[in-house]
Amino acid sequence: MTSMPTNVTGRRALLSQLWDENPIFRQVLGICSALAVTNLLLNTALMCAGLVWATTLSAVTVSLVRDYIPARVRMMVQVLLIAVYVIMVDIAMRAYFPDIHRVIGPYVGLIITNCIVMGRLEAFSSRNRPWPAFCDALGAGLGYSILLLAIALVRETMGFGTVLGVPLPMREAWWQPWTILVMPPGAFFVLAIAVWIARGRALAREARRAAKGGAR
């Protein structure tokens, strides 16, 4: 496969994935896990850490061997690399954090099929040097994490009346938990509202930029 460097700097790659091309609200990728794990902040944070780990390491690895990967089997190789890094996380968690593994173990394996990881490898890492590839993957992972943590904060706080498992002060006196927010339909509501707000802000920013450009 011919590798065509895109001459994107690491900083630009990171910022682009973090906000301008955010995987969740601009590319609408990784939605399955955004819906599945966001009813508790701790689970979400661990899922995000796993995704950042798998995305960055597989991106760097693909970038390092990009000139040697045959085009015909590149997807297979990419999936293999992603699976290896995800299984490493799974094994390490099972051995060293068994309590956490019991809680989010079923979701860790799903990182392999997360569209964000595969998307960044195919679209960016396979054509760029390791540093920009690392930054791009880190940006995608962090961009995914920011939105998911925001969604989880709303769902856990309103759904359980807790933050990271710690009850809100005197919550019995003033808060009635919205159980629907920790159930699957609640994930759709909060995700849709989060995407709406984030896209609205991004579009307003673009409109301001365009207006500035036109005024010059």
């Binding site: 040697y68 990967i69 045959p70 299984i87 490493m88 094994i91 099972r94 159980t179 159930m183």
Partner: protein
């Protein structure tokens, strides 16, 4: 040297080498952590037994014990060498008896735990149910494996749910212990999960009822279902064991 990455031979060799290298890496990691994973599995069961029998042993906080202390305690005071089997229904169901004694002399039986398991909303749920030495009361419940929805059905692991089965916690709350003896009316459940509050001692739910988890109806119903099935089959297995020749009986039991 220019590599022809389109050559079929190169493609096959690349795929084979890549697969072999990364698979070897995973296998190495798996082998390196196998002992630790096995120990974690063992500790999960040991800690469950320590938590279940802690009140009978006068332990205030079994979670504060080190792994080695838990192993020493359980090995010294719990006899898990016997099983009883209910083969009146197919498939037969074997129960390992965890018989807890007051000390390592194994003279005074303080309680018995049995494995309970069944299909939850997503996957297998597995736990240990503790009963009094005369098998008439439930004294505790700990789940050791489950894959229910985190934050919903997964909350069966939390004390807010399992404490409802604890004789000690119920006693502190001024509530009667849950009964594990067969219900007066044949066919009635041993235990009720999320079936409302009993109206009085004449209510079949009296001393047999716990609250469900809000938003996890299916998991709560699954727990009720397999606890009742396992209690019913355990009773039958014990009856069969006591009808057996003396040499085959679970010794020291009720």
């Amino acid at each position: 040297m220019k590599i022809n990455t389109k050559s079929p031979l190169y493609v096959i060799a690349f795929a084979a080498v890549t697969s072999a290298v990364f698979t070897a890496g995973i296998v190495t990691l798996q082998v390196a952590t196998a002992a630790r994973v096995e120990r974690n599995e063992k500790m999960r069961e040991y800690r469950a037994l320590a938590a279940l029998f802690a009140p009978a042993w006068g332990l205030a906080d079994p979670a504060a014990l080190s792994d080695q202390q838990v192993i020493d305690l359980v090995d010294a005071r719990v006899d898990a060498s016997q099983t009883v089997t209910d083969d009146a229904e197919q498939p037969p169901l074997a129960f390992r008896l965890y018989r807890a004694y007051a000390d390592q002399a194994h003279k005074a039986l303080v309680g018995v735990a049995i494995p309970v398991r069944g299909t939850g909303f997503w996957d297998l749920i597995e736990g240990r149910l503790a009963l009094s030495a005369d098998l008439k009361e439930v004294t505790g419940l700990v789940f050791i494996n489950q894959k229910e929805t985190p934050g919903l059905g997964g909350r069966i692991m939390e004390p807010a749910f399992t404490d409802q089965f604890s004789k000690k916690v119920r006693g502190r709350q001024g509530r009667e212990p849950l009964r594990a003896d067969p219900p007066a009316a044949p066919g009635h459940p041993f235990l009720y999960v999320g079936r409302g509050s009993p109206t009085g001692p004449a209510d079949p739910r009296y001393a047999r009822s716990v609250d469900a988890i809000t938003g996890a109806t299916q998991t709560s119903l699954a727990v009720e279902r397999f606890l009742n099935t396992d209690l019913r089959r355990f009773r039958r297995a014990m009856a069969a064991a006591h009808a057996a020749p003396a040499a085959d009986r679970p010794g020291g039991g009720p």
